[in-house]
C-alpha cells in the first residue's frame, strides 16, 4: 500500500478512496490530430481559464507555447524533414533548396533566451521589449532554386500535431510535494488542485517532471488540467475530448484506453508507420504510467516532452537518508565543538 514509485493497480484506493469508480484518463492519438485547437478553446470555455497572451511565437502554428496555468491543453506543431509511413509529401521534383527548418528554429530560440523563465512562460507573457532581431536566412541568394542540385533540395516533409495535457501520473510529482493537500488524488484516479486550499507555495511547479503545472499570475494559485473533475462526476466527457473533431483525444476508462491504444499502434505498424509509439502508457515507467498517455510519431522530446521522466518521490527515502546523515554530522559537529571547548 501507499506506494511511492512503480506500477500501481489501484491508484484511487491507494489514496484512501474506499469505494471508487474505475480510473479514467485520456488517450491522445496524435496521428489523427488536425491541429485545430478546439481542445484548447473548449477547455478554456468550460474552466474559465484566462487568455494567455497574444504573441506570434513563430513555432509553426503554435502560439500557445507550452502547458501552463492558463493553458491546460496545448497543441504542438512540428514541421519536419521526414515522412510518415507511406505518406507522400509531394515535394519531390520541385525546384527547392535546403530546408528552412533549422533557421526558423534558431529565430525562435533567440527569443526564448530573452524570454522570462527561459520561455516556460512564453505564450503567457509578451516578450520583453528590445528582443533580439531574428536572423535572416543568410544572404539573399543569387541562385535560382531550381539551379541547385538535387542533393540540396528538400523532399521529405511532414507536419506533426499533438495536443498535450497534464498526464495525471500514477505517481504525481506535483501531488506528492504539495504541502497543503490542495493537490489530491480523486476517486477517478486523477490529480486535481483544490483552489479553495492552494496557498500558492509553488512547490508543485518544480515537482512536475513534465513542466505542466504552474502558478497563475495575479491569482497566485497553482492551476492545471482537472480532467474536468466536475464533468466526469456527472458522467460527461471532459470538454476537450468532447470537442475534438477527429477523436484524437479520447476519454475513457484507462484500462480500456490502453487496449485501444495497443490496437491502434499495431494498426499503424501494419500500415508502415514504424515510428509510431506510445508514450506514458507503460505502468513500469518512472511515474508508474500516465493517466493521460499519447501515441506519438517521433521521440517525445520533439514534442517538448521529457523522454524518460521519473517522479522525484522515487528517491525520497534515499534523500531523507542522506539528509539524516548530514543532520547527524551537523549535530555531532556542534556537540564536538562544545565538548572540545569545555565549560567556562
Amino acid at each position: 500500500m501507499n506506494r511511492l514509485y512503480g506500477p500501481l493497480d489501484d491508484v484511487a484506493g491507494d489514496a484512501g478512496h474506499v469505494e471508487h469508480p474505475p480510473r479514467v484518463g485520456f488517450f491522445t492519438d496524435t496521428s489523427v490530430c488536425i491541429g485545430c485547437k478546439a481542445c484548447e478553446v473548449a477547455c478554456k470555455e468550460w474552466n474559465a481559464v484566462p487568455e494567455d497572451g497574444l504573441d506570434l511565437l513563430g513555432m509553426s502554428f503554435d502560439n500557445t507555447g507550452m502547458l501552463g496555468a492558463d493553458s491546460w491543453r496545448h497543441v504542438a506543431f512540428v514541421e519536419q524533414a521526414r515522412v510518415t509511413g507511406r505518406q507522400d509529401p509531394g515535394f519531390a521534383g520541385l525546384p527547392t533548396g535546403p530546408s528552412g527548418i533549422p533557421e526558423t528554429a534558431g529565430a525562435v530560440e533567440a527569443r526564448l533566451e530573452a524570454a522570462p523563465r527561459g520561455g516556460s512562460e512564453l505564450g503567457t507573457e509578451p516578450l520583453p521589449p528590445g528582443r533580439p532581431e531574428p536572423q535572416a536566412l543568410g544572404m539573399p541568394g543569387f541562385d535560382r532554386p531550381g539551379d541547385l542540385t538535387g542533393a540540396e533540395g528538400r523532399t521529405d516533409f511532414r507536419w506533426l500535431m499533438a495536443s498535450d495535457v497534464c498526464k495525471h501520473c500514477t505517481h504525481a510529482g506535483c501531488l506528492d510535494v504539495c504541502p497543503t493537500g490542495a493537490l489530491f488524488r480523486t476517486e477517478f484516479g486523477t490529480v486535481v488542485v483544490q483552489q479553495d486550499i492552494c496557498n500558492g507555495c509553488g512547490y508543485c511547479v518544480s515537482g512536475c517532471p513534465y513542466g505542466v503545472i504552474d502558478r497563475r499570475q495575479h491569482d497566485g494559485r497553482a492551476n492545471k488540467c482537472t480532467l474536468c473533475y466536475d464533468r466526469i462526476g456527472d458522467g460527461l466527457e471532459p470538454a476537450c475530448a468532447k470537442a475534438c473533431p477527429t477523436d484524437s483525444i479520447q476519454f475513457g476508462e484507462l484500462d480500456e484506453l490502453r487496449e485501444r491504444a495497443d490496437r491502434r499502434l499495431a494498426q499503424l505498424h501494419d500500415l508502415g508507420v514504424g515510428e509510431a509509439r506510445l508514450y506514458g502508457r507503460d505502468p513500469d515507467d518512472g511515474v508508474g504510467g500516465d493517466g493521460a498517455f499519447f501515441l506519438l510519431l517521433d521521440e517525445p522530446e520533439v514534442y517538448g516532452l521529457p523522454p524518460d521522466p521519473h517522479v522525484p518521490t522515487r528517491d525520497a527515502p534515499a534523500m531523507w537518508k542522506r539528509a539524516g546523515q548530514a543532520a547527524a554530522a551537523f549535530l555531532l559537529a556542534g556537540v564536538a565543538a562544545f565538548v572540545a571547548g569545555g565549560r567556562r
Binding site: M59, G65, G68, A81, I101, P102, A105, G106, V108, E109, A110, L112, E113, G118, G119, S120, L122, P132, Q135, G173, D176, V177, P179, T180, G181, I197, C198, N199, C201, G202, Y203, S206, G207, G211, D214, R215, G220, E299, E301, V302, G304, L305, P307, D308, T313, D315, A318, R322, A323, A326, A327, F330, L331, A333, G334, A337, F338, G341, R343, R344
Partner: protein, 355 residues
C-alpha cells in the same frame, strides 16, 4: 534570470557529422559558448556540446516560480538552526554572551525565514494551510512541521533573553527561565532537521540542478548552516566565549567546501549550470568567502575581536552566496531542455542497449 543576449548562430561544433541530423527539427548545439565556456580555474571547457532534439529549444520543465526570497529563506533557516545549536551549547557550557546572541540570532533568522517563506506564497494569507496535512512525501510539509517544533523552542528560549529586568521576578518569567534550557535544547535537537531538510526540499523536485545533487546537497547545506551559525556566534560574542562557535564554524565551512567540490565534480552535464555564468560567479565568490572565513577562523579569530567578526561575516556571506548559487543553478537548469533531455535520453539508450 538572464537578460537579453544576442542570438548565437549555431557554432561550427559538430561539423559535417551533424548535417544529416539537422534534417530533424530540434537538433541543437544549443547556446554553445553563451556563458563563456570557462570554468573555475580558468581553463577552457573541453566538454563537447551535447546534441539532442527538442521542441524549438523550448524548456521541458517550468522554471521555479520561487524568487530570491526562497534562497534567502534557505540561508536564514540554516542560520537559525546553526545558531540554536550554538546557543544550546553555550547555555550548557556557561557562555552567556554567546548563548544570548545565538538565541536572539536564531529567533531573528527564524522570523526572517518565515517572512521570506510566507511572502513568496501566491496566497500569503493562506500560509496556515501548510498545517492542514502532514505529508511524508512533501519535504515542505515535513519541513513545516519540523520548523514549527523548532520555532517553539528557539522562540521561547530567545524570548527568555528578552524579558526586561523589571519583569524577571514575575512568575511567567520565572517559569520561562526554567523552561528556557529544555526548550533551547529541543530547538537544538530539531535544528539538524531544519538545517538539512531544505536540501531535500530542493532535491525532491524535477529540477535537474537540484535533483541530481541529492546525495551531496544535505552536506553542503548543513555545512553552510554550521558555518553561518558559528560565524554568527563569532560575530556577536566575545572572543573568549566563542571558541566552540569557531570550532563549529570551521568544521561547517570545511564540510561545505568539501561537499560542494565533491558535488560539482560528480555532476555530469548538469554541472554546467554550476560552472557557467552568473551561478559560477556566485559559486566562486561563496567558496572564496567561506575559505577566507575558515582561514580567518583558524588563524586570527581566537586572537582578535575584529578578526573574529570579519571571519564570521565572511562565513555568513559565503553561506548566503552558496544558497543563492544553488538556487540559481536549479533555475538555470530548467531553462534549457538540454539538462532534461540529454540525461534522460542517455538513460533510455543505456537501458535500450541492455539485452
Amino acid at each position: 534570470m538572464t537578460g537579453p543576449e544576442p542570438a548565437e548562430l549555431p557554432s561550427d561544433a559538430g561539423g559535417g557529422a551533424a548535417r544529416s541530423a539537422e534534417m530533424f527539427q530540434g537538433i541543437r548545439r544549443r547556446r554553445g559558448g553563451r556563458h563563456g565556456g570557462r570554468r573555475g580555474g580558468g581553463e577552457p571547457t573541453v566538454v563537447p556540446e551535447a546534441e539532442f532534439r527538442s521542441y524549438y529549444g523550448r524548456p521541458v520543465l517550468k522554471a521555479p516560480v520561487w524568487e530570491w526570497k526562497i534562497a534567502a529563506y534557505l540561508f536564514c533557516g540554516g542560520l537559525a538552526a546553526g545558531s540554536s545549536v550554538v546557543a544550546a551549547g553555550a547555555d550548557l557550557t556557561g557562555r552567556p554572551a554567546l548563548r544570548r546572541s545565538s538565541r536572539l540570532g536564531s529567533l531573528g533568522a527564524l522570523l526572517a525565514s518565515l517572512y521570506f517563506l510566507v511572502s513568496d506564497l501566491g496566497r500569503p494569507e493562506r500560509f496556515h494551510h501548510m498545517l492542514r496535512v502532514l505529508k511524508p512525501t512533501s519535504p515542505m510539509s515535513v519541513g513545516t512541521w519540523i520548523l514549527s517544533a523548532f520555532g517553539a523552542g528557539a522562540g521561547a528560549a530567545a524570548v527568555d533573553e528578552l524579558v526586561p529586568r523589571r519583569w524577571r521576578r514575575t512568575w511567567p518569567a520565572r517559569l520561562l527561565r526554567r523552561l528556557a534550557r529544555p526548550l533551547g535544547l529541543s530547538a537544538a535537537a530539531t535544528a539538524p532537521g531544519v538545517a538539512s531538510y531544505t536540501a531535500v526540499l530542493l532535491s525532491h523536485t524535477a529540477v535537474p540542478g537540484w535533483n541530481e545533487v541529492r546525495d551531496e546537497l544535505p552536506f553542503v547545506f548543513v555545512g553552510s548552516a554550521a558555518a553561518s551559525g558559528g560565524g554568527f556566534g563569532m560575530l556577536c560574542a566575545p572572543v573568549a566565549e566563542a571558541g566552540p562557535a569557531r570550532a563549529f564554524a570551521a568544521v561547517g565551512a570545511a564540510g561545505e567546501i568539501v561537499a560542494s567540490r565533491v558535488m560539482e565534480h560528480r555532476l555530469g552535464l548538469v554541472g554546467e549550470v554550476y560552472r557557467e555564468g552568473h551561478v559560477a560567479r556566485l559559486w566562486h565568490a561563496s567558496e572564496a568567502l567561506t575559505a577566507a572565513g575558515l582561514a580567518g577562523t583558524l588563524l586570527v579569530a581566537h586572537r582578535s575581536r575584529v578578526g573574529a567578526a570579519a571571519s564570521g561575516l565572511a562565513l555568513l556571506a559565503g553561506s548566503a552566496l552558496q544558497r543563492f548559487g544553488v538556487f540559481e543553478a536549479g533555475v538555470a537548469s530548467t531553462k534549457d531542455p538540454k539538462y532534461v533531455v540529454v540525461p534522460q535520453r542517455e538513460r533510455l539508450d543505456a537501458r535500450g542497449s541492455r539485452p
